[in-house]
């Protein structure tokens, strides 16, 4: 018998918050992507917790799809980072100011 779901959801909320702070504070695009992965993992943990609490396998199926979408997102995102590095020689988000007026 596992702990009550509140512990897991509280932990997931804390991890999500850390990821959100990192996404807002860090300026390196690669680390911003890692923070997005942290937030996705927090959401996955919540889904698995609710799947256990409600005794419904649907929550775990959603996690499976989140994993696939995260993989696709990282592939395309890192492709954009590599392409951008070829053009601008930087992975810092603040340096991408071509559209600045």
């Amino acid at each position: 018998m596992s702990l009550s779901g509140a512990w897991y959801i509280g932990l997931a909320a804390i991890v999500f918050t850390i990821g959100a702070i990192g996404l807002l504070v860090r300026r390196n695009i690669l680390i911003m992507f890692m923070c997005i992965e942290l937030m996705l993992n927090a959401a996955n943990l919540t889904f698995v917790t609710f799947a256990r609490m409600l005794n419904d396998i649907g929550g775990q199926a959603i996690v499976f799809f989140v994993l696939v979408v995260a993989a696709a997102e990282v592939v395309v995102g890192l492709g954009i980072v590599v392409t951008n590095y070829r053009r601008r020689e930087t992975t810092v988000a603040d340096d991408l100011n071509s559209l600045k007026g």
Partner: protein, 216 residues
């Protein structure tokens, strides 16, 4: 059937469960803080692996064995390796100066608003009951009859649901992965204008030609 699930309901947690949760939570939090505070992107990626392993432990603790295995294989085995490959391929594994704030006042604001969100979620967890919809959408996790011939266990049930209830979504993810692969190949390809020149000239003219394509 409408049933409310009290989140703070007392459960019969034994001390190994508490120990496992505490250890995994410590690993997850240390890794997450490491991702945010590492100056070197390689260290951040390794901290991310730490967090992912901790989450996998909590998946196993919550009877999601298959997802724990997929978590290790897909996240730690593929996504983080892809991160590390890009970091080392681009050669951006230098330490970065994170002490200066490039937009004044941004960090305190980010922390304040994130903590407000966290406080809201925690208050909700502490005070509310999750009233859910009528019946289970797909099927229970427990409740199967174990036997020598029965495909028992959570992976079998998850697979059955993926290929029946969620078949359309499953096929859609296949299309999504194909699109992602094609997109990655198109993005990572060198621009056609550079091809055909010799290597040094191509490297020198790459930025010039692309800058002319994209006026700054």
């Amino acid at each position: 059937m409408l049933h409310a699930v009290p989140l703070l309901a007392a459960t019969r947690a034994t001390w190994p469960d508490i120990l496992v949760f505490a250890a995994a939570a410590a690993v997850i939090l240390v890794g997450a803080i490491g991702v945010v505070t590492s100056r070197n992107p390689v260290h951040a990626a390794l901290s991310l692996v730490m967090t992912l392993f901790g989450v996998a432990v909590l998946f196993i603790e919550q009877e999601a064995d298959f997802l724990a295995a997929v978590q290790i294989i897909v996240y730690a085995g593929a996504i983080v390796v892809l991160f590390l490959f890009v970091i080392m391929f681009l050669g951006v594994d230098r330490a970065e100066d994170i002490t200066t704030e490039r937009l004044s006042g941004q960090r305190p604001l980010a922390v304040v608003f994130s903590l407000i969100t966290l406080g809201g979620v925690l208050a909700m967890v502490a005070t509310s009951h999750w009233v859910t919809g009528a019946k289970q959408v797909v099927g229970p996790i427990q409740g199967h009859v174990a036997g020598p011939n029965s495909p028992a266990g959570e992976p079998a049930q998850l697979g059955k649901q993926l290929f029946t209830t969620y078949l359309f979504a499953f096929e859609a993810t296949a299309a999504l992965l194909v699109i992602a692969v094609v997109g990655a190949v198109v993005l990572a390809r060198r621009p056609p204008s550079v091809e055909g020149k010799d290597e040094t000239e191509a490297g020198a003219s790459a930025s010039a030609s692309t800058d002319s394509e994209l006026p700054a």
